[in-house]
Point group: none
């Protein structure tokens, strides 16, 4: 159970408590009372994790080895096929006037399916570029062919009023890929300029979606599945495409249902029920609840406190699982004072039928630091949970 | 704020408390009450750090990668130029009679400037040896040229009544460097034998300074600066040349003033004021206060306790910093019972405007171990402090 961005810092509006400290969380407190607590540096102390590197680590993978950029996980998250060696990039459909980006989101265009179709499947020598739509103005491009590299810069200037940038190689091995990205952008923008949807948008006074802005290139690594590593069948319940992508890269079944949005409006009880039913057919279920992170990015400590209380209520059914290892933690801290991810460690509780019971009775960043699990790294979590279920092979004799 | 050698062990003379436990430290206690506490294994559990490896680690560098010996940091500490690939050695000016070292410090000679001048700039093939004076009987030699190595033994026998040793290579790659050191010692000792200063010393009945004893060879590594690594401007306030050298290697501005001696007689208030004024023009200031270490080496628990109380008083101005991340810790433990560095972890406190507040109210080795920071390694400290100031880039998206 990953409460996204749950960790926080002392907040003046909460009398120098964290939102989790300030929240009333009887269910989490019951869970920790029955088990043991700790804190976790998901990457290493002081390093703010991204959601992608964090989930890789929480699934036992070394992000330094398997992560080269967000692209491949976004691609997997929206259901694209990505093979080892493919390079994937996120892209925005944006508005360009005389070579200058005037709107990075093309007037927050709602559906780019037709536009993606128009620029999908282009070939440049031995490389094919596939494009599929993400949410709203976003898409993902996957480059497939020999000798590709993620060692390239973004085309997206990440700001309006700027010319779109030429893709450049960072190291020599990115040269071919950078050239292909530049050719793709040129040809895609020509196709978009003439696209009927843009003609309609012109007539109705809407901003043109006439420029693609690729960013976040990553090369897909050969990632061994959890099945291969631990011989377990694993599922993920999440509405966030980036999280879904990481879980798919680990070979997990991604389960989702209507009403599970990844937003503040998500149907929490339905999500919990989906996780519980997934437990019947899987050895491991990862559930991500996004909204503590959203309140953190918004700098809203009271919203975050109330959000945590809503999560706590929804967790009640987990109290009845008496043959299951249950862990509650976060992928990173998103302090309301920072309005971004920070390197502060996250709290962790684990209960299991025969797990050690420490004397921690309250689930928060301060109390958990005194628990029997002490301090671990994100990469340690999965082996620790699987060992609680006696599913880790002995090293040695 | 590095209290050098602060960590200690249970001392019978203090009713089995450590000097820090026994000391009255109201200011450190206030600081820890406003923030969080932990303990730190500066290298790793049970490994006694040197002051050089410790400060490297506290500045975020892996000493296993960047440290090959004390020489280069001593050289930088006394203001010598040391380039990557140079090999530096500390040396004593000593008294030799019939090939036997009878005084390793040549009667504690006060000023070796003239002697260094006499042996400075010697050339041996493609290698130049520069020599500059350190404190009292000490100097530093820097070898510059191709294919040098620190894989050599000391000439210094580290005891009197012994013949001075031939420098030997430890691994094959040290062969050239060992030969040059031996040639340098021979030629330097000939120059010293005829030196006017030694003639004067002979007449006045003082011991001859007629033999150099090089030791502690280290090769200068390519060390990225804190500016390159974290984009910060950093300063150090320390009277210890070894600490100054490590800080210079990290690209820090070393600031010092009259009366700041690095000894027990140092002007603490002046040092604190220099650190505070340095904070106005730097992102990070490291202050080293040496004397807990001195009392530890002397095996003086009551002196150490009182020394800690003096430091605590001097720290009062830090209580008024409300927009600053303040950390108090040590580079290593120097237990009075050991009279040398030990591998015991050191206490750590960190306060910052929005930092988590745990329930630790007393700054000592035992209470800090219960704090919210838990246990970290020395290398984790700088990222952790910079993250408190929101200056660490996210890893991932």
């Amino acid at each position: 159970m990953i409460c996204d961005g749950l960790g926080d810092r002392a907040n003046r509006a909460l009398r120098f408590k964290t939102p989790l400290q300030a929240a009333s969380t009887p269910n989490m407190d019951k869970l920790v009372s029955r088990g043991s607590a700790g804190i976790m540096d998901v990457i290493s102390p002081g390093i703010p994790p991204g959601s992608d590197t964090a989930h890789l680590a929480l699934l036992g993978y070394d992000p330094m080895k398997y992560y080269s950029g967000r692209g491949p996980f976004e691609a997997l998250g929206i259901g694209m096929k990505v093979d080892p060696g493919d390079v994937a990039l996120r892209l925005n459909f944006s508005t360009m006037e005389k070579g200058v980006i005037t709107d990075r989101r093309a007037g927050r265009i709602k559906d780019v399916t037709q536009l993606c179709e128009a620029i999908d499947g282009m070939k440049f020598g031995d490389v094919t570029v596939n494009v599929q739509p993400g949410t709203e103005h976003r898409g993902v491009a996957v480059l497939r062919g020999p000798d590709l590299s993620s060692s390239i810069t973004d085309v997206d200037p990440h700001d309006t009023g700027m010319k779109f940038l030429k893709c450049k190689h960072i190291t020599k091995e990115g040269e071919k890929t950078a050239n292909i990205v530049n050719m793709f952008v040129k040809k895609a923008n020509m196709a978009l300029a003439d696209h009927p949807l843009n003609n309609v948008r012109k007539v109705t006074g809407k901003k043109q979606a006439n420029a693609v802005l690729p960013r976040g290139a990553g090369i897909m690594r050969e990632i061994p599945s959890l099945k291969e590593l631990f011989d377990i069948k694993a599922a993920a319940v999440s509405g966030i495409s980036l999280v879904k992508g990481v879980c798919r890269a680990a070979g997990m079944n991604v389960r989702i249902a209507k009403g599970l949005t990844g937003g503040i409006d998500t149907d929490l009880d339905k999500k919990v029920n989906l996780a519980l039913s997934s437990l019947k057919t899987h050895d491991l279920v990862l559930m991500n609840i996004k909204f503590p992170d959203i309140y953190g990015h918004d700098g809203d400590p009271k919203g975050k406190k109330e959000g945590v209380e809503r999560i706590d209520k929804a967790l009640a059914p987990f109290l009845d699982l008496d043959r299951t290892v249950v862990a509650v933690t976060a992928d990173h801290s998103t302090p309301c004072t920072v309005m971004n991810h920070s390197g502060d460690p996250v709290p962790l509780l684990i209960t299991s039928p025969d797990g050690r019971r420490d004397d921690i009775k309250t689930f928060d960043e301060i109390q958990c630091a005194k628990g029997a699990i002490q301090s671990i790294r994100g990469r340690n979590l999965l082996p620790l949970l699987l060992d609680r279920a006696n599913k880790v092979e002995k090293f040695g004799a």
